[in-house]
Amino acid sequence: MAPTELLIGHPLASKELASHALLYMWKIRKFEEAVEDLFGRGMMHGTMHLSIGQEAGPTGMCMALQIDDQITSTHRGHGHCIAKGADLTRMIAELLGKKIGYCGGRGGSMHIADAETGNLGANGVVGGGVPIAVGAALASKLQKKGTVAVSFFGDGSMNEGAFHEAANLAAIWNLPVVLFCENNKYGMSSATSKAFKLENLADRGKGYGIPGETVDGNDVVAVYEAAERAVNRARNGEGPTLIESVTYRWKGHSRSDKNLYRTKEEIEEWKEKDPLPKFIHRVQKENLLNQAECDAIQQKAVDEIFAAVNTSVKAESATPDGLLAAVFKGAN
């Protein structure tokens, strides 16, 4: 879909916005399911980091962003990419190593970027995107563009030096950046309870003089509201905000994960907190959408993913010719 179709605003503000929020969460869910399926059938290579269960975070955050606002993403980045408006076909095509893929098959799942929608890229390096987002915010300030940069990162990346140095720069320079932590309770097998001596990771902001806020990352409405506050602060020159969006990944960290570090019960508990039914129930209670409309939206997502997979599978594979020439950009 073209980025221009993106809607900005409160997920409960109108039928359109509610539909948009629901559609995007379904797109992310169905995209991840499709990836898992392609992987399972051996059609996709490498590794995959699925964000099933985390759909509300990126959706709520990106509904508070304009198209020219920028994001940096992570190894678990499909959701951020979709929520910011990327083209599903080019995403799937990338995973399948096709020429039309976002990276022409050179990047794969961990490196999808979309200049058109301000997505500066997923990142295979934990914490790697945070200084980059801060630099984008610096550019916005220097160029007086009025744009905001959002860095998505996991709980685990907060213990990287990159996070620390970037957060401090954002604070002292009062940059228009939102530090969006997806706290899904684990960094691979490392539980936040062991990796931090903090109740709320949002408290880490105190060490930099950055206001922090902890929200229910499975409630797209709560996420949006926190995101809107943070984006407003950023645009008004009030500097960075650290948002801790508490959520959970249903699937293993990646393919190799045997889930030995957590219990089935815990996983089941969190499946109870599935962001999708939660939001569907809310929009129906608020009479924004009825069951039939909700079903239609889910179907729309399924169809879009299906179409994207079909087109991608048929698309031409990337070829090795020209790799050397692709290393450097030519004089411009």
Partner: protein, 333 residues
């Protein structure tokens, strides 16, 4: 662990760490997900149950911090083994590796030393793309004060790692991801025999061509040698095993016999480690006995791409090595 002794490299490395930890209480393993997860590649699987959380230490995602902590522990009577989940992320820790660990013994006057081992998987072939597939051995090889080991077989990995842990100096131990799950071609000795650092290994002897290769390229060269042997071309393969310090003698001896030298590395060609082998040959008198120009095979000077068909094109494959080898022998008689 499999009952026969044709272990995988992951099993051999685990065995070496286990023996060292049983031998001496000052050895411990520290790294991201090395505990209950068993390490990203399963190298330390089961070790936490055996040795407990105080000797198999799970860390947060803080490469610089944990390598620095290893340096401090090594300065204080311990012998840490640090696992960095992918060698690409030694980039995060380069200050503690190159500016601290490598220099402390010399710079501080010799009273202190840093007996630590940094283990990390390197190399491409897993579809993990540019930030999870590099061979960065040249960075370490060019830093005085570091020893750098790049084992190509499970048996070597075990004996060399035991020596690395014994060593009073910082050792960078670079394992290849693709070898982790492959059974080795030789049995791994039981017991705690060490293989000394700094001794090149003549993997195979032949009179027609000398191939010096590192890491997984040794494995590939061996396949090539088998094919060539079928056509009566006899290849000597030499694996330096320790790229720093480098034991060049066996290379010189072999080149004097074969007169033909080919070097193969996986890492990017430009300014790569393998150049050191070529230069030491050209600097020596052996040089006169070359009857063919020295052939260099190396990775393309590009970041490692994701798609399998692109990834394969980025580093020397068996076919490339075979073609190059045949050409040298054919063209230079």
């Amino acid at each position: 662990m499999s009952d026969d002794r044709f272990l995988t490299m992951a099993e051999a490395v685990r065995e070496a760490m286990t023996i060292a930890m049983e031998e001496r209480p000052d050895v411990f393993l520290m790294g991201e997900d090395v505990g209950i997860y068993g390490g990203a590649f399963g190298v330390s699987a089961g070790m936490r149950d055996k040795f407990g959380e105080d000797r198999i230490i799970d860390t947060p995602i803080s490469e610089l911090g944990i390598v620095g902590a290893a340096v401090g522990a090594a300065l204080s009577g311990m012998r840490p083994i640090v696992e960095i989940q992918f060698s690409d992320f030694t980039a995060q820790a380069m200050d503690q590796i190159a500016n601290q660990a490598a220099k402390i013994h010399f710079m501080l006057g010799g009273a202190l030393h840093v007996p630590m081992v940094l283990r990390a998987p390197q190399g491409s072939g897993t579809g993990a793309a540019a930030q999870h597939s590099q061979v960065l051995e040249t960075w370490f090889a060019n830093i005085p004060g570091l020893k750098v080991v790049t084992p190509s077989t499970p048996a070597d990995a075990k004996g060399l790692l035991l020596s690395a842990i014994d060593d009073p100096n910082p050792v960078i131990f670079l394992e290849h991801k693709l070898l982790y799950k492959m059974k080795g071609l030789e049995e791994v000795p039981t017991g705690a025999e060490r293989i000394p650092l700094g001794v090149s290994k003549v993997v195979r002897h032949g009179k027609d061509l000398t191939i010096v290769a590192t890491g997984i390229m040794v494995y590939k060269a061996r396949q090539v040698a088998d094919k060539l042997a079928a056509d009566g071309i006899e290849v000597t393969i030499i694996d330096p095993r320790t790229i720093s310090p480098l034991d060049i003698k066996p290379v010189l001896a072999s080149v004097e016999e074969t007169g033909r030298l080919m070097v193969v590395q996986e890492g990017p060609k430009h300014a790569g480690f393998i150049n050191e082998v070529i230069v030491q040959v050209t600097e020596s008198s052996t040089f006169g006995s070359l009857i063919a120009p020295i052939k260099r095979l190396a990775g393309l000077d590009i970041p490692i791409p994701y798609a399998p068909q692109l990834e394969k094109a980025a580093v020397p494959q068996v076919e490339d090595i075979e073609a190059a080898a045949r050409e040298i022998v054919k063209n230079w008689r």
